[in-house]
Symmetry: C2
Subunit: 141 residues, 2 copies
């Protein structure tokens, strides 16, 4: 039951990565409030991890430096809810930046080696999934 | 500039309330992690406040009892981002429950006076708005 929903959620996430896709990233701000804002996912591996592109000096990156707890929600079409809770880190490794580059980022950065470009890498600890109108499932990875 | 974006954001929120609409609500869980999940907004007043229907014993209501900090994100169509950060409270007043009832809730509750039905009332403290491809604006209410 869980495995089927996890597999399907991974497919939905994969379909919602790259240019013109979006999901919602929740972080914690300086005052201890949750924030939730739109972001484009770059790559993913099932529900295990998701990467995003960001600016080194963005609000998101600044918040992550102070608190690495995060949640990601995919619900674009309204017939599913994918909630992933976990941790997020800023990656500036050149190879990772190249691997996680996607078409569309050139509107914001000079290229994958732009020093202002960084990768946000989210790793799931806990999931809550409602997909294909099956029963909601939740658990830990 | 801000006023125009605030007005437009309020219209977008109002268009995305009631049956078949959804947005994302971020809360803080027992372990201090942000969570982000799909919810339907019931009513709204500009960007000032938004109400939701929920179960008295839902994960969301249980989290709110322990931590009243929340964020709401509207980004359904992908061409806008509305992030509101503030506080959220559980309301069980009979008049409020009747006022905030919307078509569709009858699939989950016996009626607006169902003791399992409660209203979650979010009040905005801070906003970050990107609408109609205008410059992003942020501020406090």
């Amino acid at each position: 039951m869980h495995e089927e929903s996890i597999k399907r959620a991974g497919e939905i996430i994969a379909q919602n990565t790259g240019a013109d896709s979006h999901c919602t990233l929740a972080l914690i701000d300086d005052d201890g409030y949750p924030t939730a804002s739109t972001i484009t996912a770059s790559k993913s591996d099932g529900i295990k991890w998701i990467t995003f592109g960001s600016e080194v000096g963005s609000n998101k990156a600044n918040r992550i430096r102070k608190c690495n707890r995060a949640a990601v929600c995919f619900n674009r079409s309204g017939d599913h809810n994918i909630t992933l809770v976990g941790t997020i880190e800023i990656v500036t490794d050149a190879d990772v930046k190249r691997d996680m580059w996607y078409s569309g980022l050139e509107n914001h950065f000079a290229g994958h080696d732009d020093p202002n470009f960084c990768v946000l890498r989210f790793t799931t600890k806990r999931y809550n999934l409602f997909v294909d109108w099956k029963d909601e499932v939740s658990g830990e990875l």
